[in-house]
């Protein structure tokens, strides 16, 4: 199949597929006589693997590691476990940050009811002052 069909089957855009190839997340497949990329079922699987990893917010660098590890099956998989652990940690940290952020935004929002002019706007006033605990 050609790249358009692969894009359709996987839900990736054509450009993204070419980009993944350039970044070595997807192997370089053979070309047709007219220089068109030709894929088979294994390409679909490889690409879905990458896509699935991206859904989990793994970076392309992390996915590249996984792709390479998949090709050397005798290595211990502790590395992979550690990567996932690190990633969980990052996600939890970001969640905490967002929680704080939402709290601050809410109190900002509460500080200004409608129909005031900018001069009286509690939001702008609050944003203009550096308070303790707010870097």
């Amino acid at each position: 199949m050609k790249i358009g069909k692969l894009a359709e089957l996987t839900g990736c855009s054509v450009q993204t597929i070419r980009y993944y190839e350039k970044e070595r997340l997807l192997a370089s497949y053979d070309r047709s006589e007219g220089n068109f990329r030709l894929y088979d079922q294994s390409a679909v699987e490889q690409l879905l693997f990458v896509k699935h990893c991206r859904c989990l917010d793994l970076t392309l660098a992390e996915i590249r590691q996984l792709v390479e590890l998949k090709r050397s099956p005798s290595i211990q998989c502790d590395d992979i476990n550690r990567m996932v652990e690190r990633h969980i940690h990052q996600v939890e940290q970001r969640m905490q940050e967002l929680k704080n952020l939402r709290q601050q935004l809410k109190s900002l929002h509460d500080s200004c009811s409608s129909n005031r002019t900018i001069e009286q706007c509690g939001i702008l006033q609050n944003l203009s002052v550096t308070r303790p605990g707010v870097p």
Copy 2:
């Protein structure tokens, strides 16, 4: 004061300050004879305002809006309120996404205990299969 001092007082890097000026988040201040930027206390306040907004994950475009609004104090501040509301909504959406993400990463992590080879690695196996509910 020169840019280095402003950077020190605000915790922004020198390059970032120049970048903010270029992006019109910070006014262009006068220069010295030797073409050095010269700032005063109002620059410190302006820059801390921007920094504070960035802490709240407002985009530079949003901050630019606020900076401009601050200069026209007679406008109603409903716009600001709406921006904050929209931002809270975005944050909450992202929090939900991260919650799902963490759940998936955890079950991925549970699928592989240590000391297995890649061939047996539950993580890679799981990542390779598209399951319902996992795009």
